[in-house]
C-alpha cells in the first residue's frame, strides 16, 4: 500500500489519511449495525434510516451531554471506563513483552537447548486456551486457596496489597489467553534469528561494538505489526474479563448497555466504541510510520 512518493510530509499525510479513513468507515459501519439492535424504547414508526442518521450525528458531531442515567456526563463515564480498560490492556501488553522479549532473544541466540524446547512447548500448549477459560479457572483457584474474590470494588479502597492482587488476576487471564503470548514470542524469536545472521551485525560485533541496540531496533517493527493485528482480539478478550471480574471498563459498558432491557445508552456505546477504534487507529498508524521509517530501502 505504501507507494514511493517524493518527500516525507507527503508520506505522513498519506498514512494519516489512510488510517483516518479506516477509522471513520468502521465507525459508519458500526452505526449501521447499531441501528439493527431491537429497542422497545424507540417508538415503532422510527425507520431504520432515521435511527442510523441520529447515531451518525451522535458519533461524528461528538454531540453528547448527559448519559441516559443522568447522574454522570458521558465524558466522565468514558474517561473512567477508558482509564480501567487501558490499565488492563497496557499492563497485560507490558507483561507479555517482558516475558516474550527476553525469552525470544534468549531462545534465538542459543541453538535449540532444552530450555528453548520446554518454553516453546509450554507456551504453545497454554496459548490456545481462551481467556474465558483462564478467567474462570483463575477465579476458581483464587477462591479455593485465597478465599477471596478479586473484584474491582476492592481495588478502589483496598490497600496496596489488595490492589495488586485484584489487578493481577484479570491481567494474568489476558496474558495467558487467546494466543497473544505465543504470537509475540514466535515473531520475536524469528526476527532475532534473522537479525543475528545479518552480515553487518557480525561486522559490528567484529569492531567490538555492542549489538543489543541494533537487535532491539530491528524488533521494534515486528512487535508493532503483531500488536496491531492482535488488538481486535484483545478488545473482545477485555470485554469478557471485565464481565467476569466486574471491571466497569469500556468493554463492560458497551456490553451492559447493549444487554440491559429498556432505553439503551447510545451516546455511551458510541463513545466507548470510538475510543476503542482510536486505539486501533493509533496502533496501525504507528505501525505504518515504523514500516516506512525503519525500512532502509525507503530511506531518502
Amino acid at each position: 500500500m505504501i507507494t514511493m512518493s517524493k518527500n516525507k510530509t507527503n508520506i505522513l499525510l498519506y498514512l494519516l489519511l489512510k488510517n483516518a479513513s479506516v477509522f471513520f468507515i468502521s465507525l459508519f459501519i458500526i452505526c449501521l449495525l447499531l441501528a439493527l439492535v431491537p429497542d422497545t424504547a424507540i417508538p415503532g414508526d422510527v425507520s431504520y434510516f432515521e435511527r442510523v442518521k441520529d447515531y451518525l450525528t451522535i458519533a461524528y458531531l461528538f454531540s453528547y451531554d448527559y448519559s441516559v442515567a443522568g447522574t454522570f456526563l458521558i465524558s466522565e463515564l468514558i474517561l473512567h471506563g477508558s482509564k480501567l480498560t487501558f490499565t488492563l490492556i497496557f499492563l497485560s501488553l507490558l507483561i507479555v513483552l517482558t516475558i516474550a522479549l527476553p525469552a525470544g532473544i534468549l531462545v534465538a541466540s542459543e541453538k535449540n537447548t532444552n530450555f528453548q524446547k520446554l518454553f516453546t512447548v509450554t507456551v504453545s500448549l497454554l496459548s490456545p486456551i481462551p481467556i474465558l477459560i483462564w478467567a474462570s479457572l483463575l477465579m476458581l483457584l483464587v477462591f479455593v486457596f485465597g478465599n477471596m474474590v478479586p473484584l474491582y470494588i476492592d481495588f478502589e479502597d483496598g490497600d496496596l496489597r489488595t490492589r495488586m492482587f485484584v489487578l493481577l488476576i484479570p491481567v494474568a487471564a489476558i496474558v495467558l489467553g487467546d494466543g497473544i503470548l505465543l504470537d509475540f514470542y514466535n515473531k520475536i524469536r524469528d526476527e532475532t534469528r534473522k537479525v543475528m545472521n545479518e552480515p553487518w551485525l557480525i561486522a559490528v560485533k567484529a569492531r567490538g561494538l555492542p549489538i543489543y541496540n541494533h537487535v532491539l531496533r530491528a524488533l521494534l517493527l515486528p512487535i508493532f505489526i503483531t500488536l496491531s493485528s492482535k488488538i481486535t482480539y484483545l478488545i473482545s478478550g477485555i470485554i469478557i474479563v471485565e464481565y467476569i471480574f466486574a471491571w466497569q471498563g469500556l468493554g463492560f459498558m458497551i456490553w451492559r448497555s447493549l444487554e440491559t432491557p429498556g432505553a439503551k445508552d447510545y451516546p455511551l456505546i458510541l463513545g466507548s466504541v470510538k475510543v476503542l477504534l482510536f486505539t486501533v487507529f493509533l496502533f496501525s498508524f504507528i505501525r505504518d510510520i515504523l514500516t516506512y521509517k525503519l525500512n532502509p530501502q525507503l530511506m531518502k
Binding site: I25, S26, P130, L132, F143, D178
Partner: protein, 390 residues
C-alpha cells in the same frame, strides 16, 4: 527436529479423533447418551471426591443418641477426634460400599455403629459396609456414631450418600444428567458450526488474498481497504448483533465469525503471494507461457501456501469453538434445552463455593482438549508440509 514434529502432530491427531468420535456418538445415539441419576452427585473417583471437600466432614459431639445438635463450644481439639478420614460419598448398585473410619489403633479401642442409614448398612470388622440393591437408589442421609471405651461422649458425623445404578465417573449436574453424557452431547457444537466459519474465512481469504496480492488494480486496493476496516471492528459486537437479531441461531453467528476471521487470512495469503510475485520464477514461468491463474494457483498457492492454509483452517476451527463457548457462557449462544459446554460452565460457576467443582472442571477440560486438538494438528501438519523446513 523430526521427532519433535511427530510428537505434536500425533498428539493433535489423537485428540482430534477423540473429538470426532464424540461427535459421531452424539449424532447417532443422541437420545440415550445422557443417563439420569441422583442430582448433583460427585464423580465416583475417590481422588476427585477428596479434592471436592478439601477439609473432612466436621465431627460433632452428640448429647443424646437421637438428636444431632451442633455444639456451640469451640472446635473439638484434634486429639480426641475419631472420624479423621474423608468418607466416600458415592455408591453403586451391586458393588460394595466400604468406609474405614479411622486408624487401626483407634478402631480397637472404640465401638462404632450406624445411627441412621439405608437398610443393610452395618459396621463389620473395622469398616462400614453396604451393598445397595436395585431398589435403594437416590440420596441417603447417613449418620455414623462412635464411642471410645474410656470416655462417655459419643462422637458422630453426618453426610449425604448418593447411590445409583451406574457409577457416574464424571458426576451429574443439578438435573441428574450425567456430565459425561453432557460432554459428548455438547461436542456436536464444536465441529459442525465451525465448518461454516472455515468455509467463509479460509476459502474467502484464499481467493481474495491471492487476487489482492497478485495484481494491482482498483479491486485489490478495495480488498485491502475492506480488510483494514473489518479488522478494526470489535469482534464481540458483531457476534452480539448476529446472535440477537437471528434469535440465537448459532449457524448465523458462525457466519459472523467467518467475517471476523476473513481479514486475518486475507492479510497472510496476500503477503506470501506478494513476496513470491517479486521472485524471478514468476517472470520465467510467464515467459514459458503459463496463464496468470495457473501461475498464481499452481506455483504460488499450491506449493508454498499449503502449510499456511492448513494452519488457518485449524485456527479457524479453534476460534469458532472459542466463540461458541463464550457466547453460550454469556447466555447469547445455545439456549437451555440444547446442551453446550458454555451453558454447563455457567451453571457450574454458581456452585464453586459449595465445593462442586466438577461442573466447571470437565467443560474446561473438554474445551481445552478440543482447542488443542485443532491447534496441534494444524501446526503439526503445516510443519510436515513446509517445503523449507526439511
Amino acid at each position: 527436529m523430526i521427532i519433535h514434529l511427530n510428537f505434536r502432530f500425533v498428539l493433535g491427531c489423537i485428540l482430534l479423533l477423540i473429538l470426532i468420535g464424540m461427535n459421531v456418538v452424539a449424532f447417532f445415539f443422541s437420545s440415550d447418551i445422557i443417563k439420569n441419576g441422583t442430582p448433583a452427585r460427585p464423580p465416583s473417583l475417590y481422588l476427585f471426591q477428596k479434592a471436592l471437600y478439601h477439609q473432612p466432614i466436621e465431627e460433632e459431639a452428640v448429647e443424646d443418641l437421637f438428636s444431632f445438635s451442633v455444639p456451640d463450644e469451640a472446635e473439638p481439639h484434634a486429639e480426641d477426634l475419631i472420624f479423621n478420614r474423608n468418607p466416600k460419598r458415592t455408591a453403586t448398585v451391586g458393588t460394595e460400599y466400604r468406609y474405614v473410619p479411622t486408624s487401626q489403633y483407634l478402631r480397637n479401642r472404640a465401638s462404632f455403629w450406624v445411627e441412621e442409614g439405608p437398610r443393610g448398612m452395618k459396621y463389620e470388622d473395622g469398616a462400614f459396609i453396604w451393598t445397595p440393591d436395585s431398589t435403594q437408589t437416590g440420596i441417603f442421609d447417613i449418620s455414623l456414631a462412635a464411642q471410645m471405651e474410656d470416655s462417655e461422649t459419643i462422637r458422630g458425623i453426618r453426610f449425604k450418600l448418593f447411590s445409583d445404578e451406574i457409577p457416574f465417573y464424571f458426576g451429574t449436574d443439578e438435573r441428574g444428567n450425567s456430565v459425561l453424557g453432557l460432554m459428548i452431547a455438547g461436542a456436536k457444537w464444536s465441529i459442525l458450526p465451525g465448518l461454516i466459519a472455515v468455509l467463509i474465512a479460509v476459502f474467502g481469504g484464499l481467493f481474495l488474498g491471492a487476487y489482492a496480492g497478485y495484481n494491482k488494480n482498483f479491486l485489490s486496493n478495495f480488498i485491502d481497504g475492506t480488510t483494514l476496516v473489518l479488522e478494526s471492528i470489535p469482534a464481540l459486537l458483531l457476534f452480539f448483533l448476529a446472535a440477537v437479531i437471528f434469535s440465537f441461531n448459532i449457524y448465523i453467528v458462525m457466519v459472523a465469525v467467518g467475517l471476523v476471521l476473513l481479514p486475518v487470512n486475507i492479510n497472510i495469503i496476500r503477503s506470501t503471494v506478494k513476496h513470491f510475485v517479486d521472485c524471478q520464477f514468476v517472470e520465467s514461468s510467464k515467459e514459458i507461457g503459463f496463464t496468470d491463474n495457473q501461475i498464481l494457483f499452481r506455483d504460488i498457492i499450491w506449493y508454498n501456501c499449503k502449510p499456511i492454509i492448513i494452519s488457518q483452517i485449524a485456527n479457524c476451527f479453534a476460534f469458532a469453538i472459542m466463540v461458541e463457548v463464550t457466547l453460550s457462557y454469556l447466555q447469547f449462544g445455545i439456549q437451555v434445552p440444547e446442551v453446550s459446554w458454555g451453558n454447563i460452565l455457567l451453571q457450574g460457576k454458581s456452585d464453586i463455593h459449595k465445593g462442586e467443582f466438577w461442573l466447571v472442571f470437565f467443560p474446561c477440560l473438554m474445551i481445552i482438549m478440543s482447542l488443542l486438538s485443532f491447534y496441534l494438528t494444524g501446526s503439526g501438519l503445516s510443519r510436515l508440509l513446509d517445503p523449507r523446513k526439511n
